[in-house]
């Protein structure tokens, strides 16, 4: 295992430029996912997040075959699927989760069929599914930075509208807010957040970046502003520690980042000041002592 000092040296080593780029992309992705993930967690949209994560896959596959931009290809496929889900969900006979179940598996299946046409597809399939820190082009670093900045700006600008819809859709519609359009905007933002994160962390694991840091933050606060600030911090911490551990111990990057994020979540679950398990046990012990006294 290499020390953190050596890790910094490696980051600055021009021969290992891919490492710095991977860390940068992982950090930016985790911050963006933390902010967007706050809305996903509070609205109970985790399943939609998973759906979108799978739905971007055929777009990535097509982009890979055509040597185009993965970010662009994934975004198009994800947005198309999100819109299909939103439209088909208007039919009240089918619940939204069934519609999502149909479309995301179909999209994923399409992606597998498409990528099987590529020469040497087993290796690239693995990179897509589980992430890879090598071979991120400079162009994608810029794309991730720009897309991420736009997403965070978009979430902040639409903050009060998104919150009002999350709180009470009925009242939001009655007051004249365009609920359907706002839903669509949120789905599209979730899609783009996922697409920019797929590169380093992989298609299967990207959901963790969206859900885990935001859920961790929710354990620690009852205030939305604090939650939206904490979630990207936890995400960034997981990305930094995850890339370091994966580099120094030669572990898969995506998996390591997710495990670090999960460890932070478990810590919060045990030790959260008001809702945590430790506090609950302590409280119970205190009450027992009172009763016995």
């Amino acid at each position: 295992m290499i020390s953190p000092v050596d890790f910094v040296a490696d980051l600055l080593n021009p021969d290992l430029a891919f490492l710095g780029k991977a860390l940068l992309v992982a950090l930016m992705s985790s911050v963006v996912c933390g902010v967007i993930g706050t809305h996903v967690v509070l609205r109970g949209m985790a399943f939609i997040g998973e759906a979108v994560a799978h739905a971007v896959f055929p777009g990535l596959a097509v982009a890979f075959l055509l040597q185009g931009s993965l970010v662009l290809g994934g975004a198009v496929a994800g947005v198309v699927t999100a819109v299909l889900v939103a439209v088909f969900s208007q039919n009240r006979r089918l619940k939204e989760d069934s519609v999502i179940g149909i479309f995301f598996v179909a999209a994923f299946a399409l992606g597998i069929v498409i990528i099987s046409r590529a020469p040497g597809y087993a290796g690239s399939l693995q990179d897509f599914l589980f992430g890879s820190i090598t071979g991120i082009p400079d162009r994608d670093v810029v794309t991730v930075a720009v897309a991420g900045a736009l997403l965070v700006a978009g979430v902040l600008l639409l903050h009060k509208e998104l919150v009002t819809v999350s709180l009470d859709r009925e009242m939001a519609r009655a007051s004249g807010l365009p609920v359907f359009v706002l839903d669509l905007v949120l789905y599209v933002m979730v899609t783009i957040a996922i697409v920019v994160s797929v590169q380093t962390i992989g298609n299967i694991l990207v959901l963790a970046l969206l859900i885990t840091p935001a859920a961790t933050a929710r354990m620690l606060t009852d205030r939305l502003g604090v939650m939206m600030a904490l979630a990207p911090c936890f995400g960034a911490l997981a990305a930094l520690v995850g890339v370091y551990l994966s580099w120094s111990l030669d572990l898969p990057t995506g998996g390591t980042i997710v495990l670090v994020a999960t460890a932070v979540f478990l810590l919060a679950w045990f030790f959260a000041p008001r809702h945590g398990l430790a506090r609950a046990l302590q409280h119970r012990a205190g009450r027992r002592a009172e009763v016995l006294a």
Partner: protein, 257 residues
């Protein structure tokens, strides 16, 4: 706002017909509510009480008929209605304080890309004062009791300073002190000129507190002051019960021998 001439009702529903999922839920529903009315909308489960409120708000498509608020039937006119939905519609686990939840009632009025201004914050403060939650205004909504939650929803509607207030079963599951506080509040609002419409299953309470009663079962069967709607026949039709049902005696209606 200029004073509307007395002929224009605060809320006017004419011949409204609503079909949901292929089923006729409301037909030929007429309802006129004037400034200062406190109207109790009563009827059995499935009579279409909530649907009528939702039709007024434009949340369900109206097949025939018209809805006018202060003489205007535009979406903008309806958006000024204060609406208190049933408590389960609201995400109580959301990390938000009482005052921010109340402010969310004004999101549309504040407008896209704008922040709440002085007038918005004053409306929120007044609304919270009215429901007597001032001491709890910074508390997360998840930590409130059922009665306090209902008051948050009422305050959120009042933050719009509405001329028409629609309440969907505001008393369900509340204890007597909270019911009394809210009843006084609604009567007080009506006395100030707000048109208050409330669905309820508390028939005795409605007959006692409301200035007008509307009996609903798929259509509005009768509207009038509590004294004007004392015909037991009407009630047995509205609630699909026999004319000698103990319910009618319980609410003090004479049963003809």
């Amino acid at each position: 706002m200029t004073a509307p001439d007395l002929g224009t009702p605060a809320l006017e529903v004419r011949g409204v017909r609503v079909v949901l999922g292929g089923r006729l839920v409301l037909r030929d529903a007429d309802l006129v509510v004037r400034d200062g009315d406190f109207l109790g909308l009563i009827g059995p489960n499935g009579a279409g009480k909530t649907t009528l409120l939702r039709a007024v708000l434009g949340l369900v498509p109206v097949r025939d008929g018209s809805v006018a608020v202060g003489g205007r039937s535009s979406r903008a006119a309806r958006a000024g209605i204060g609406y208190v939905p049933q408590r389960h519609e609201f995400a109580w686990d959301f990390p938000i304080s009482v005052e921010d939840a109340v402010l969310s009632g004004r999101t549309r009025r504040i407008g896209l890309l704008r922040r709440a201004g002085v007038d918005d914050l004053r409306a929120v403060r007044d609304a919270i004062d009215r429901v007597r939650l001032t001491d709890l205004r910074r508390r997360p909504v998840g930590q409130l009791s059922g009665g306090q939650r209902q008051r948050v929803l009422v305050a959120r509607a009042l933050a719009l300073r509405p001329r028409v207030l629609l309440l969907d079963e505001p008393f369900t599951g509340l204890d007597m002190p909270t019911q009394e506080l809210l009843t006084d509040l609604f009567s007080g609002l009506a006395a100030e000129g707000v048109a208050v419409v409330m669905t309820t299953h508390d028939l005795a309470g409605a007959l006692y507190s409301c200035s007008r009663i509307a009996l609903l079962n798929r259509t509005v069967l009768a509207t009038g002051s509590p004294d004007e709607v004392r015909d037991p026949d009407l009630w047995s039709r509205a609630f699909e019960i026999s004319p000698d049902s103990p319910l009618l005696r319980a609410i003090g209606l004479e049963v003809p021998a």
